[in-house]
Symmetry: C3
Subunit: 672 residues, 3 copies
């Protein structure tokens, strides 16, 4: 278990370093990330290098038993470099330069930048490849954050044209698949193709829009690969990672992770300014990150204080750092690095708070971290080698998310909010979920949920048919099958290629106004269920109805259907279910598909308390996490030990304090 902190020695007088290292060690820390924004200090002027300070801090950390993850500093090219090559700056849709003074002020496709990257990364890799204290590398920092994925400069335009040529070969093929005949947009030459920049009205060809997003994502992947290759050349034994951003969607993280040794992400559970944080959001992003490489991951930046640029976000209450840390671990984190050690005295993030306040003294958050450090030492061997084990998966498709970003269908509609609403069900019911790519193998799962799967390749369609035929349960919902992978409408009656699998046709459809809903009836239930946002007018062609619209001109037509296909079952949801109906439908789906694992664990938790497990060959570690500030009654059907405190918990009700966490090991099995 890696346990540590992000540290910026270049921000502090060297005489303080020793104190910091000692305090870290006393808090049980064994790793630091350093260097990822330090280019100015490493190469103050072109070709003038100074690695001596970096040598000294790495040595110092190593002496204290703290290993180092080194960041490459390419997120912040220095001013001397930018002044020599101003063409490196990104440009926005209007052609404005996105200039110097913040960070990430570079274009991924700028040829001028590549030699500088090569040099600085080679210098670092060659110097520290053999340092025993350097365990891993982080490439750049948060690719794409603050809308820096998509650039509209001339270099990007040319690179996009080349990318399209590579993809389509023939420009007529591109015209055909994009449908540029619409509004007279046929391109005769690759060099004629535009970026989706400023036009009289902001509505570009959907095929071009989607390809541009794919291209921009690929540009980042290519940019990262240059650095990975350089590092691996010198340091093949040191791991390479990048700190991704969970639900951030501008870069396809499945692609970005392929060449990485381990996936990482930056976890700020309360970065949003909201009164009530939904802990499912962090849980989901952990699961997303775990799904990237199908194995455990690191949290490279883990919130330790109130974040803040010019505005401050909420201050973590006592117990929150510890609670968030165990949630991370419960979902598969094998490394926790807090962001950051101490509040910086200057710079754009001087309000981004840390373990230590600006005064550098031990305080509440330091003490809480220290407690976690001690607990982790106690449970390290238990955690070692354990992992989550899910039989259900949600499919996250960046391409589909982009298609909805380009065309949300519904005012203020969010693909991710909808995705989250399904995830929420599983979170609330303690059902472990994997979040996987549509290109991943489906065969190990019992249940697959694909939300808003408007585009699908033939291969995906075939594998989904095969999955259900072989006994799997599949959930599809509105808009499934409406488009092909080029973001074109299918000339088929909906749900298009999924019609046979789902046993329905969708004759009509439409949006609902704002918060409008329509009543939905479920046989045997008197509740006033509701569908919102969208309606499909479904005609069953073999499927049976699970819920029926009870209002408007499509009253009587199904809202949810179920179709036995082969050995499995395919479900279709033709509206946005309210949470009560969602729970009712998914309860049935979960039971039928046999994924409702945790509920049979012998541990019963009330609402607000999360139950999640990591499994080792021989045993299960049950994390019970109270996300509320109030004590909660936990009903135990067996006898357990809390690994963190060593305390034994008897059968019956035990009280878990507000913000409290247990890591339970079964001593005596539940009765059932």
């Amino acid at each position: 278990m890696l346990f540590g902190v992000c540290y910026y020695p270049e921000h502090w007088p060297e005489e303080r370093w020793g104190t910091d290292a000692r305090m870290m060690k006393e808090a049980g820390m064994n790793v630091v990330r350093i260097g990822e924004f330090a280019w100015s200090k490493l190469e103050p002027r072109e070709g003038e290098y100074d690695f001596s300070w970096l040598d000294r801090i790495i040595d110092l950390m190593t002496e204290h038993g703290i290993r180092v993850i080194l960041g490459t500093p390419t997120a912040t090219p220095p001013k001397w470099l930018m002044d020599k090559h101003p063409e490196i700056y990104m440009r926005d849709k209007f052609g404005h330069v996105r200039g110097f003074g913040n960070r990430r002020h570079y274009c991924y496709n700028s040829a001028s930048y590549y030699p500088y990257i090569t040099t600085i990364v080679e210098k670092l890799a060659s110097r520290y490849a053999s340092h025993p204290g350097v365990m891993a590398w982080q490439i750049d920092n948060e690719f794409g954050c603050n809308e820096t994925t998509r650039c509209y400069c001339d270099a990007c335009k040319l690179a996009f044209q080349v990318w399209l040529q590579g993809k389509y070969g023939d420009i007529d093929a591109m015209n055909e698949r994009w449908g540029t005949v619409f509004w007279s947009q046929i391109y005769n030459e690759w060099l004629e193709v535009v970026l989706p920049a400023n036009t009289p009205f902001p509505l570009h060809n959907p095929g071009l829009e989607l390809d541009y997003r794919r291209f921009a994502s690929d540009s980042v992947v290519k940019f990262q690969k240059l650095q990975i290759d350089l590092i691996k050349q010198y340091a093949p034994h040191q791991a390479v990672t990048h700190n991704m951003m969970g639900a951030f969607n501008e870069v396809d993280d499945f692609e970005l992770s392929k060449e990485l040794d381990i996936a990482s992400w930056d976890n700020y559970p309360n970065l949003m300014f909201t009164r009530d944080v939904n802990p499912a959001i962090a849980a989901m992003q952990h699961d997303m990150t775990r799904g990237l490489k199908g194995r455990n991951f690191w949290v490279m930046e883990h919130q330790s204080g109130q974040p803040g640029g010019n505005i401050m976000f909420p201050t973590p209450r006592p117990g929150e750092l510890r609670r968030w840390t165990y949630q991370s671990i419960a979902h598969g984190a094998d490394g926790i690095l807090y962001f950051r050690w101490r509040g910086c005295l200057f710079g754009a993030e001087q309000f981004w708070h840390a373990i230590l306040q600006h005064d550098g003294k031990e305080g509440r958050k330091y003490n809480e971290t220290k407690q976690v450090g001690e607990e982790l030492k106690r449970v390290a061997s238990l955690l070692e080698g354990s992992a989550n084990a899910s039989r259900a998966a949600m499919v996250r498709s960046f391409d589909n998310e982009w298609a909805f970003e380009i065309q949300p269908h519904i005012m203020n509609y969010s693909y991710m909010d909808h995705f989250t609403s399904y995830y929420q069900y599983f979170y609330d019911h303690g059902i472990g979920m994997d979040i996987i790519s549509p290109n991943d193998d489906f065969t190990n799962y019992r249940l697959l949920v694909l939300s808003n799967f408007i585009m699908a390749t033939d291969d995906m369609v075939e594998r989904l048919y095969a999955f259900v035929e072989g006994g799997g349960s599949l959930v599809l919902d509105y808009r499934a099958g409406a488009k092909d992978w080029d973001n074109r409408m299918e000339p088929l009656t909906l749900p298009g290629k999924f019609a046979d699998l789902l046993g329905i046709t969708v004759e009509e459809y439409g949006v609902m106004y704002k918060d409008d809903t329509r009543r939905i009836k479920v046989e045997g239930h008197d509740e006033d269920y509701r569908g919102g946002k969208w309606f499909d007018v479904i005609v069953p062609r073999g499927a049976e109805s699970m819920a029926v619209f009870d209002e408007d001109y499509y009253a009587g037509s199904p809202a949810v259907t179920k179709h036995v296909y082969g050995k499995g079952t395919a479900y279709y949801i033709g509206t946005e279910l309210d949470s009560a109906l969602r729970d009712l439908i998914f309860n049935e789906i979960s039971i039928c598909s046999k994924v409702a694992a945790h509920r049979g664990s012998g541990i019963r938790v009330p609402h607000g308390v999360e139950l999640v497990s990591r499994v080792k060959v021989d045993k299960t570690l049950w994390f019970v996490i109270n996300h509320t500030v109030k004590a909660a009654d936990i009903l135990l059907d067996g006898v357990y030990e809390d690994g963190l405190s060593g305390r034994k918990l008897a059968k019956g009700i035990s009280v878990l304090e507000g913000n409290g966490v247990w890591m339970l090991l079964e001593i005596e099995a539940p009765s059932e």
Copy 2:
């Protein structure tokens, strides 16, 4: 009666064309519009033409008895043309190019564009002038839509300077009439004059602002005239039209229509995303379009499905297409072309729904259209030669609307909303209204309503005095007479030149805060009437008071006045009346001016049902349109036949179903 659809053969495989033509014919269609965005297909490269496909589809349609309206493709110049002449792109207020990728990416004043237009239009006109299947031409498409009327490029700046020189002759005259002495803005040379582009604060000289709007509108008119002249040279026998946009106000449609043979507009009754569509809005726009040339018109694009760019708007319910169609006809449409035949599989409007869904199969909307087609065959000879016959008119002044756009006076104030609130009264009370230009002849009307007529020429003032003197009833309201035609304030006590006609002075005035209102008393009425948005402090000088403010420091002064002048009467309204008071006042005005025609028709309709008539020499066609989803009781005082169904309706109450329409012919006269 033209009945048909907008069709894009270039979007579909040629082997489908036959099916489409057959299905159209079976639906009773006799016209299609084609070609208006097809430049890329007609001239794929400069000077390389391919009209063969257009020949084939026109021939095919002709064979099916379907006539063709050909669009000129100038709304979407191809990429090869734009790459050769990038100076054709419009520019925004900041100088940003409004680039390629949507449509309407050209400046009306770009000299580079004119030769290309000339060539493509001549090619088309010369080729199809003698084709028996081609009945008419549409110039370009929706001039100005998506804010493409006003451009800020250098060509526009120069053209504006030339336009000003043409208007004022002498620059001192322009300085005087604009009042450029204010803030030291005197221009010494024409070439010094600026466009109302980006400044430190967005507040330009009001005279310059208004002239720029006039210039921009004139630029469109001039642009259109080039094409009309070319077509008329080859095809003087084929009608020329343009699809305008109802209440859209950037181009003066009175001017734009002058050279057209027939006016057209695009009618999307539910393009707005609102829960309750007000059917008066479409009615008003029909009346506006009829007023352009003072005769019947075409609906060139008639909504047939949910519209949608990236967001979808509401799906029409069963019966809505039919209902909308008859409303259009009732207000004077002699041509209905649905937009569009089939949902496009690609492009920026792939979500803009059509008669056929993307799957191309017959469905609910096709069947509804077909029903209308059959009914129209039945009533064609009745409709032939019939027209609306109004004795009341509202005056729509683009110049005044622009003056209020430049200076709305009141936060979020809309000239058109206010205009609509008066129109609503007449709509609700079944009183047929014409909507005319202030330059039109007033003498045929009994009642004229001029809302917010802040600017007037001397000629208009004189004709209004003459109109009232001769026995007409005139309604003016707040801000009347405050400015001259140059958008300058009059140095007169308000209502300026209208003071004698109205018999009042307005000593003071002001806005009301947001939703604030002031109580208004009407003698003999106990209701709590209200005025909002604005107050005038009126002193009668011969006029009598119809309603009096009962609150604030101007309590006791009139809110509405009435002044007998010559044989007629001039009314003045000094605030925004609430709907109850508006109805009370206009009831009296309508009765006194003898325009309340329909109420004496023998047909009584409840709220939500529209009653409107077209008149032939010998008979009246009464359209009864139920705009609600509920059945309505219609009280008939005579015996009628519904021309659409052939059903006879006895005296007394008959039930009109939700979304239902009758076209009633009197068989036995009402008792009165």
Copy 3:
């Protein structure tokens, strides 16, 4: 007492001038401001001057006994000048030119502009230096209004680099104090330094941001000084002023006023579109302006009608002009010039209403002004030499306000709103306040209030310690001491350098969500007091608690503390107090610091009536101003005479009408 109006003779035919002058005289006016936007009329073409019309109007005014304040016309350089030197235009953050067509279209650092200014100002100054009718000069007009302080052109970039070199000398010092090591922003050369313009994310280095604001403010001061020096060279006997804008914060008015003979500001009490105007806002801005030079001031533009650009603001009700006028005088105005004489018939401000309506006739507002003119003649000798005399002061720090503008900490937080909430207490309780600079002498005051004093120089800290030690009462609140004067965080436990003075440490802190509050208890009070926006977790180190948080994890820790230090007392407020708690706390502070003067005046006013005094050597003038529309009962404990009406007011209750004003002189002393 100066009493007059802003007049634009160049807007009106010369034959009208005589009428205007006569009407002004009849209204008791003795001063006009003219010429400040007249460059086009004075120099229609480069080098062609015409001062004849200005001569004539000055002579005419002089003949009528009306003195002239001449404006320099530099706010509106003519078009011929801008066309010759387009580099003079300001540029925005994206590099867009902020072009011609409004006003203030120039950059303060444009070298091209300086020769033109020099010439026109010298021409004016030399011509009118000896004219007996010209009493004073106004430089330019409202520096910075409509966001024209900060420019992003190349001239500004260079000027900023030079300014920085002047400030820091050594670029390493600048890097150190800004902390440019953060995100690799170290500058090697002055010419590398950027303006805080467009970046990928709008978050610049806080040190750079603050220095840029200081630089921009200094640029204005420098720009003004050029003109002052020119005028003083010719006309050292004529006063020089500038019309500032009260709470407007882009220019440091303390610096801007240093070289002025008298401070002026433009007072529009109801420029905001709000239902209920808070009269404390105008009062505060009067006090701010009086504080600039520590003596009486002029209101150069005083609202006389509804303002309006494209939107109109509320029309003043009868009595409001008079009431506002006396409020201005009560707070120290020795000059009142209404804006403006007559509604302009043209130009961007044709809706900005005036004493006369557009028709130029005497009306309600003229008559009200005339009444004031008559009253002022009566009380002129009394007012002569009188001034406000406060023992309490609030410290307004532009630097601190800028620091909060750059980093508001809290969503939608406003330094000025918070400042105002403290001012409101003193306003409501009739306690005269000065508003002074942190560089001013503190020693004459009994109470100092410093809100959000996040930055302080060592000198300020020392003087505050000395102030309290010597017996003063000091109020500091949250964020005090958190930063040094470079906008860097202090590496000290909060409240940093103020810790000893306040006798506390602040261990933690944070924001509260939106309208969230936390309960606060005060011993001996049962009220449910509340703190909002921010919380400090305070540990007393000698201070005593005045109020204690009663909620959340910091329940029990003080919200407000009091610390006796030397002979004085230092208070600290660790949250945003609700108004009830604010009043409770400040009541105690006011009583203890002996500043609650007016309450002992013998005049008792209800809520909504303002009580404020000007003091002469031997007597006090009590202004009693009824800011409501309802009559108010005023309880008098002595016998008074109302100087305005000459009416004698007996002991007991007298009724002051709505919008009414008294200027009371004590005839018989109050009983106490």
